[in-house]
Symmetry: C2
Subunit: 309 residues, 2 copies
């Protein structure tokens, strides 16, 4: 479907496609659409043509497929494994979303997932290695043509379970995204301005440390960039905020066709405001329906509320 | 000493002048110069002619006087009470400065302090009500000519001990500064973007909520402004950071001769970088010796590291 012009700015998103059940102090979601690739691809799709690589099982039906198709997400890389159900995760958030506890994880068909890139995906100029095992993220890099701009996301689980594999991955990616707690865990430094340069020493050219409601810091060879978060007064569900952040970031880079420092700063602002939408409803709902106009409106507001004349 | 031009932009600073003994995970300061008016007035003096109102006792000698005079601080309002020693405070910081415990407080001559403004101070166009009892802050307002731009700082102690008096004070000041924990304590809301408007409802025209290493947010009738903190990689002593912040803020407003939204945003950036210097050494030392050039350099860096083009 893509034109040549579109393909040259396509974003490949790999990660989990899942069903989640999320309990918060305010609600119980029941079984809903989730997964790092789902959030990441929808967020990216607001900015650039997006391709999804992942796996789903028997319980992933036309309704879910249509939700992704509605965002023009290319699903040629979405494997349908009929041997079982889709990856399922259930978790509960504590008061004020200060903590998250996993209640249940059923890997299902994800247990045998091996990302396989359709031939036309291998030349994707932008690739988001969404939050999954670093070994699987590496398999995607193995299949990508040289020259792609690669962004890797992660989570504390992989710092615990697959640290050597994560450390092997980092020198192979352009941009590494993690949150302040993960940066602390990985470097031993709780001060983000100390941790950032330590992370660069691990290999990625660029690092973004997210600080939740306190914004994010970009560590780039040309300097630092610090951005407050877009103000959110009522968080409903933080699930997928990081995935949306990463998806919007790489989508905005792809749309600009550039990964320079100035473009990265703008992309970080788009990432922040897109994540702010995600957390305002349970699951993917708000991200899905927000629309580009609202993202742009928040972007303009965020630029205005951080400007010193 | 002041010219007419200078007087029209003078800053009045009222607060405590003290000796502190500060224990940190890294050092024990011994008996050193401290107090909210000391930090506030030195910070303000980098920007505008500054007048100090406070009280000291027998142990406050020529050495301390000279440290203030070196910053051209007008000391006509500094009372010398020969009936006892100067206010003394001793405290200890926990690991990573996450907590602070008071070890000893000796009010000494401060117990009988009643701020009395010399006649020429009453027309000060800018007044910082530094962190002392709200009752004493109110006494300063009673003596000030109408039309002064007034900034009030506070701390958790007064929220506990003198909440009614603080609530009486707030409608009388233009700008109220507090940190995120105090904002939570005073409004019951942990989200600063919820707490800010609640604080405005308490009476001040403008509110600044400080978030320590995470920056600060300005709530103004014309809109929001959010600013990350200037990066500090090695905190030595957070004592006086808030006082320096407030002093630099009001000094920068006085220097500009304006209190509009754009000027306030710039003043907040000056406040942030001045506080960043204070915390880099024990006590007043770094603030005292930093110099305006270093403040300006950090201001320029902070503007650059927060700009989205």
């Amino acid at each position: 479907m893509s034109t040549t012009a579109n393909t040259s700015r396509s974003v490949l998103v790999v990660g989990s496609v899942a069903f989640d059940r999320i309990k918060t102090p305010l609600a119980d979601s029941g079984k809903i659409l989730g997964g790092s690739a789902t959030y990441g691809a929808i967020a990216s799709s607001y900015f650039a043509p997006t391709r999804l690589v992942g796996v789903v099982g028997n319980d992933f039906g036309p309704a879910e497929i249509n939700r992704l198709r509605r965002h023009d997400i290319d699903l040629a890389g979405l494997q349908m494994d009929r041997s079982g159900d889709t990856f399922f995760w259930s978790g509960v958030y504590g008061e004020h979303f200060a903590s998250r506890t996993t209640l249940e994880t059923r890997l299902n068909v994800f247990a045998n997932f091996s990302p396989a890139l359709p031939e036309e995906y291998r030349t994707s100029p932008f690739a988001l290695l969404g939050n999954i095992q670093p070994q699987l993220q590496a398999q995607v890099l193995d299949q990508l043509a040289p020259g792609a701009f690669t962004v890797a996301d992660t989570m504390n689980l992989w710092l615990d379970l697959a640290r050597p594999q994560l450390l092997e991955l980092l020198p192979r990616v352009d941009l590494f995204i993690l949150n302040d707690e993960e940066a602390h865990q990985l470097t031993g430094h709780g001060n983000v301005y100390v941790a950032g340069p330590k992370l660069i020493q691990l290999g990625p050219k660029i690092v973004i440390i997210k600080k939740g409601a306190h914004g994010a810091v970009l560590f780039h060879p040309e300097g630092l960039f610090a951005l407050p978060a877009y103000p959110v007064t009522q968080v409903q569900d933080p699930t997928g905020a990081g995935d949306s952040f990463a998806g919007a970031l790489i989508g905005a880079l792809a749309a600009a066709g550039d990964t320079g420092f100035a473009t990265l700063r703008r992309a970080l602002a788009y990432a922040t405001v897109t994540a702010s939408l995600t957390v305002e409803a349970l699951g993917v709902d708000r991200l899905e329906t927000a629309g580009r106009a609202l993202i742009d409106q928040r972007f303009t507001e965020l630029v205005r509320m951080t400007r010193i004349d």
